[in-house]
Amino acid sequence: MKFMQIIIIALISCLFAANVYASDGRGLEIATELDVRDNGFGDTTSTMTMTLFDQYGNSTSRKIRNRTLEGTDEGDLSLVIFDTPADVKGTAFLSHTKRSGSDDQWLYLPALKRVKRIASSNQAGPFMGSEFAYEDISSQELEKYTYKYLRNEAYNGLDCFVVEYDPVDRKSGYSKQIVWIDTKEYRSHKIEFYDRKESLLKTLEYKGYSQYNDKFWRADVLEMENHQTGKRTVLEFDDWKFQTGLTAKDFNKKSLKKVR
């Protein structure tokens, strides 16, 4: 009898747990629409200047090139190549995003000519010493969050959905993200990141959207502010190109060694 009780309690807790992680219909609809509208981009290349500002306003910049291939069965494939600081020039970071579970990641160290598979559970860790975590810059797969529609609200003169994104992965550094998405084009404009203790940690703002190939929207500037440290990171994108003809072979270990 006691055994049955344990099973019943266990089942009830499962139900509650499932409830905690479930999306509401509208939140998921909005997130799905945002995802669908970017479907079919094929591949992209861009260059990026990353400027790190400390709490005193001192700044230092890095130049980075990005290449992304849209995933079909699994998540997107992405390659990041560092051009500066000069001491890490040629270092490249390859990531195979998974819809669920840890991504596969490799690092190329040019001085050693070494391709190194790295553990990828550090998604909450900072990317290149910036205020962006690995999970902020990696490809945003629909399955990585559950969604809750909160309200509609004007932001920068645009009518926006405000949706709560709850990370599925317990290794995420966030308890939740609040995302402002405009109701017309389904573009993210602002994200508030809350840490594991539910305090506001960072705010990300997207600025200067342009449309490419009459379909795909990309922001020119991403500005991340850390409210707890006062530090800030600005990403400025340039030279967006879509459907350049990249294939999966440009995103494997062998291609890492040939990156120029």
């Binding site: 600081p85 000069a86 001491d87 020039k89 596969d104 070494r114 598979r117 909450a124």
Partner: protein
């Protein structure tokens, strides 16, 4: 380094002055050897310049990486080295390379047994990036989703050694090398390697047939030293399992050197603890066990344990402490490497090596006077 290569280097230096795709570095290292004996110097200064670049030619791509090194007290370190100087061309699915090339095979951290293509530039230090370019013809292609390589190396390059009064010096003059093969350094090497991944496992299998990279050191009439290079045939295996925050690694080499069969392996675990003490710092814990029954191996069985700290900040501060311990006998090596970016394009590296051995007949005893503290200032452009 013959005069032809020197001329090529000079030509290249002139050529790259007008080429935007060139980068490089300048590094000055000051070294202090606190336990140096009377017959050796106790300080040294070394300057190293590296020039890296590539150029799209009409039918080929030219890739180069030249090292120029000059030491104040140890001429064994002096080098003009074409670590890479090759032409490459892609024929359909096959990439072909001709010239001096540098590659890396292996997965572990402490000793890469299967990394047989490039000879060690040992005079520059035991660090993994001190390698000599392999004069070679090589091909790389896909086999399924895997990476297949073939290397033909027609000319053997000898290991570099420090001067006899340097650190670590052999204490005696080094005579010209001898070879088991009648063609000496002209005996060619062949090597193939296939590598791929299945889920969380990366693996590679390689075969090598050529001159052994590690010489057997022979003392002749107690007055000089002669490196002797055997022929070697071996099969190498690399395995890595990548978990969430843990890596399991294995490198094995099995084969014959001269007439003798041999086995060598390194297996290890690397565990990373993220955001230690709620800071941005990560801590990696490394344990590797080395086994090598070849005659030239200083120690048969070695345990290497270490800690790696990384700051994840804009200065990329990192600290690596490695402790190499011979369980059977009382000899050990403590190594510490720290590095930090001072500002964009400028780095500072600190290295400390401390050899310990109580017994005169143990290999590490001869290194005790080579314990070293060095500081390197690097400028990258």
């Amino acid at each position: 380094m013959n005069s032809v290569t020197k001329t090529l280097c000079l030509w290249l230096l002139l050529a790259i002055q007008v080429n935007a795709e060139t980068s490089g570095s300048l590094a000055i290292t000051g070294s202090y050897f606190p336990k140096s004996l009377d017959e050796s110097f106790d300080t040294n200064i070394t300057a190293e310049a590296k020039v890296i670049g590539y150029e799209e030619l009409s039918h080929f791509q030219l890739v180069y990486e030249f090292i120029f090194r000059k030491s104040l007290n140890d001429s064994g370190m002096d080098i003009v080295e074409p670590r890479q100087f090759f032409l490459s061309k892609t024929f359909g699915e096959i990439d072909a390379y001709l010239g001096y090339r540098h590659t890396f095979w292996g997965v572990v951290e402490s000793k890469n047994l299967v990394d047989l293509i490039n000879q060690h530039d040992l005079a520059a230090g035991i660090s993994a990036d001190n390698r000599l370019g392999a004069p070679s013809i090589s091909f790389e292609t896909y086999l399924g989703s895997g990476d297949f390589q073939y290397w033909y190396i027609p000319r053997f390059r000898e290991r570099t050694f420090n001067e006899q009064n340097a650190h670590p010096g052999l204490g005696l003059p080094v005579l010209p090398a001898q070879f088991a093969h009648t063609k000496r350094s002209k005996a060619p090497d062949h090597a193939i390697r296939y590598g791929n991944s299945i889920g969380d496992i990366d693996y590679a299998l390689s075969v090598f047939d050529g001159t052994a990279r590690e010489p057997i050191i022979r003392v002749e009439e107690m007055s000089s030293i002669r490196p002797y290079y055997e022929r070697m045939r071996s099969i190498g295996l690399e395995l890595q399992y990548t978990g969430d925050s843990i890596l399991y690694k294995f490198e094995g080499l099995n084969g014959t050197q001269g007439e003798e069969d041999f086995n060598a392996a390194v297996m290890g675990i690397e565990k990373t603890v993220y955001s230690i003490f709620e800071t941005q710092w990560d801590m990696g814990l490394i344990i590797e066990y080395q086994y090598d029954d070849r005659v030239q191996a200083l120690i048969d069985r070695t345990l290497v344990s270490g800690i790696r700290l990384t700051s994840n900040d804009e200065f990329d501060t990192s600290l690596l402490v490695l402790y190499t311990d011979d369980h059977e006998f009382s000899q050990s090596l403590f190594g510490l490497e720290a590095s930090r970016r001072l500002r964009n394009g400028m780095t500072l590296d600190l290295k400390y090596l401390l050899y310990k051995s109580d017994e005169q007949n143990l290999p590490f005893y001869s290194f005790v006077d080579d314990s070293e503290l060095s500081l390197t200032l690097g400028y990258y452009f």
